[in-house]
């Protein structure tokens, strides 16, 4: 909870589920579809478990009704886990802080062959 120091009363935080509830449902349906299961087997050699999407959908709907902290925390835990899974590799290269300087240069001006 944030406190408005000037007014000395709590200001409601504006947390919302990271995805729209319908998005959780559409991800669940997509996950369970034959084509997706086929493609997961083709890529990874195993069939995906989809129950987490359904759980997230239920928590999302419940949060909309009750605004409970349990459902909020459950959703946050689930999504943080998803983000961690996507980052679960050692990068091969260093990320840039800025885009390459010559991206927008007109042609014939950046062919320096210095690289």
């Amino acid at each position: 909870m944030l406190f408005d120091l000037a007014m000395d009363r709590p200001v409601a935080t504006t947390w919302m589920p990271p995805r729209a509830c319908e998005d959780y449902w559409s991800e669940f349906r997509h996950c369970k579809s034959f084509m997706n299961r086929f493609h997961q087997y083709y890529a990874y050699g195993s069939v995906p478990s989809c129950h987490q999407w359904k759980e997230d959908y239920n928590n999302c709907r419940e949060w909309k009704k009750s605004r409970s902290t349990e459902t909020q925390e459950a959703l946050q835990r689930s999504e943080r886990k998803r983000v961690a899974e996507q980052k679960n590799f050692d990068p091969v290269w260093e990320l840039r802080c800025e885009p390459p300087k010559d991206w927008h240069l007109p042609l014939n001006q950046d062919n320096t062959q210095d690289s």
Binding site: W15, M16, P17, P18, R19, D23, S26, E27, H30, M35, N36, F38, H39, Y41, Y42, A43, Y44, G45, Q76, E79, R80, V83, Q86, N88, F89, D90, P91, V92, W93, E94, L95, R96, E98, P99, P100, D102, W103, H104, L105, P106, L107, N108, D110, N111, T112, Q113, S115
Partner: protein, 233 residues
């Protein structure tokens, strides 16, 4: 640096029109003009309708590398069977107008090359001197562009099922490296193996391996929503 040696070392000999300094000039031969027009038309369709291309273009714009069709794409004649390439020196994607004849193929090539461009935009990729970097971008491009979809593989008469995507990605990355660099097959295989696990699992900007248009559309939806998503994590 010896010009000819540079050309062969970095695969520029596959793209002869680059060396002659031709840029979007129309040729006298009608057939080449037709190929050029068709290539430009199919490129426009890909940029407007392919969910893979649309997500990559959005991601590149957000990363500070807005893609301009006239500046960053070039339809040219190429040698052999190569379909396209990314030239980091000029920040251009080359599309081989003489080797791309179907819209679905154009969509895949555009996605593939945009992945290289996206890697160039967001990371310090040493295209010319670091084979691990090159291997990594080729693994990602083969994995995320649809190059290794089940349907694409079947159309090449490569029939495989369990984990076949990984075999395909490995093989195509290897082929791409060998086409543009003078190294032995064994050396290229070692490079690919050394970075495979990392790069096969790097799905940026998709957040997943897009196996078809629906995956790509969901990925685009997630990308569009990312500010709200991370704010509420």
């Amino acid at each position: 640096m010896n010009q000819k040696k540079t050309e062969e070392e970095y695969g520029y000999d596959l793209f002869p029109e680059r060396n002659e300094g031709k840029q979007n000039t129309t040729s006298f031969k009608e057939s080449i003009q037709t190929f050029n027009h068709k290539c430009k038309f199919m490129l426009q369709v890909a940029m407007e309708t392919s969910p893979y291309a649309k997500l990559l273009l959005t991601a590149m714009k957000s990363s500070g590398c807005k893609v301009l069709k006239e500046r960053h794409f070039s339809c040219e004649d190429c040698d052999g069977t190569v379909s396209g390439g990314f030239d980091a020196a000029s920040s251009q994607i080359v599309l081989c107008q003489n080797n791309i004849h179907q819209q679905s193929h154009m969509n895949r090539v555009v996605a593939h090359e945009l992945i290289h461009a996206f890697d160039h935009c967001r990371a310090h990729v040493d295209w010319f001197n670091n084979f691990r970097h090159l291997a990594c971008s080729e693994i990602r491009a083969a994995n995320l562009s649809g190059d290794c979809s089940f349907v694409s593989e079947v159309s090449r008469f490569n029939f495989g099922l369990k984990k076949h995507q990984q075999e395909c990605v490995r093989g195509r990355a290897l082929r791409s490296i060998l086409a543009v660099r003078k190294i032995t097959r064994e050396e290229a295989e070692r490079m690919v193996d050394s970075v495979f696990d990392s790069c096969f699992n790097d799905h940026a900007p998709f957040g997943r391996i897009p196996h078809g248009k629906k995956d790509a559309k969901f990925a685009h939806r997630d990308y569009t929503n990312r500010d709200h998503y991370y704010k509420n994590l």
